[in-house]
Amino acid sequence: MEWPPVTEPPNAGPVLTGPETTGELSNAVLCSGLTYRFGSYTAVDRVDLRIERGETFGLLGPNGAGKTTTIRMLTTLLRPMAGSISVLGVSAAERPMLVRRMIGYVPQLLSADATLTGRENVELFARLFDVPRSQRRDRVEASLAAMGLTEPAGRLVKTYSGGMIRRLELAQALVNAPSLLVLDEPTVGLDPIARTDVWEYIAALRVQNDMTVLMTTHYMDEADTYCDRIALMHAGSIRATGSPGVLKASLGAGATLDDVFRHYTGGTLDDNTESGGIRDVRRARRTARRLG
């Protein structure tokens, strides 16, 4: 399937400069010294991060490690207390609107609007990203079709399953053909079949769209299978960065990603006793209530 051609409205996005691969332009994301505090608690502590164009990058860590706070700064929701962020060469502090144009964001919660139909949810995002009226219908339908949602698109989202909502959110994020897709815990709360399903969709989209993917997860197996490179985050800082293979090999033959994580952080990923545990339960309840 082909997207209809995109004609960008004025000021719609950065100027295309062709396939440059050198210097700063090969970076999809470049962060340095990123810091955020909640009161006296330092959630993100001087994080440096470089994500290359076209790669799938995983930010791994237990609940409370600072992954979501980092993502929120990257997506311009939070203003860093120190440090800088550039997304595809654009400073997030100076040009937040321009950065938002290039990002597709799927938050941790199932956040499609349950009081609208699937199609309306996607159309809303097409409008918010200034997809020209003449192309809007085609793009909305193409996004829904790509996520296998053509048939239920006319139904209210409150009738959808968790896996369908996640796919719908991907359709929302993709209708703008973003350069950077940001996924915060994309498979939390999904059953194993839906999880695999969502990953297959993401992998296929990424290959065909030359898209950079940044995702957070605390599922080691997912990171191992789907990420080109990962960063291990613990207590607000990044402890190690590299491809899953290299990180495992550095500990010797037979090491798993869990071993790698334990080696660099002294803890396990499944450690849910931190403050995040209760928050997750609350969120799951909220989602359940909302979706009736």
Binding site: M1, W3, P5, N11, T17, L88, R100, E120, T287
Partner: protein, 282 residues
Amino acid sequence: MTSAAPGAPPAALADPAALPPADTAAAVVRRLASRIVTLCWVELRKMRHDRTELYTRAIQPALWLLIYGEVFTKIRAIPTPGGIPYLAYLAPGILAQSALFIAIFYGIQIIWERDAGVLTKLMVTPTPRAALITGKAFAAGVRSVVQATAVVILSAILGVALTGNPLKLVAAACVVALGSAFFSCLSMTIAGLALSRDRLMGIGQAITMPLFFSSSALYPEQIMPGWLQAISRCNPLSYQVDALRGLLIGTPAHLGLDLIVLAVATVAGVAASAALLPRLAR
């Protein structure tokens, strides 16, 4: 996998030297206007999908008119300008009150959307905060006008002599919408300060009744004690009621002043709640 993924245009890659220039003022205004239209569209779609709320909310104002209104008309306890029946004097007040009660709910709704992740996701799109607020204020206005229509019809059935002038009726609808837009912004501003639904429910209940009783919705300002008159003059609800009475039942009103107060209050409300919106995303 059931279908192939769409092939998108090549990923935009920014050359820092070739970034588009910063948005001009005209571009900013155009974007604001376009986003407001979009967010109003989405609110209308939501209302179309769930209309039960529109009906059930008409019950409370009906009770005010049928029970409180009928009883106080009979005992003639409240002096009215020109000696018009109290029910006629009361009807525009109940109209404004019912709109207020709808609007005050919007702060809770925006916190609810924050908790559901909907608001956060909208804030990562290139959409000015003021457009998100204006969309909600518009929705509050539309809902209030729908409900006001029910109250006007009920008043007419109860024998209140309302204007038949379509221009005045349209003007009254605008006043209702503008008042609700302001009160929804007030509520969303408080939401930006309170940040949690439980706190906001408490604050919402603590301010709606005082707003109502310190306005001229139920009784003329002249019979209020001095201190209450002073409060009433700072209360936008009094200006809304004044305008509605003037338009619907023809009592002497200060239409120009009323509209200016409501318009200025609404713009200030949009600005204040838009400035506080990022606090909700934290």
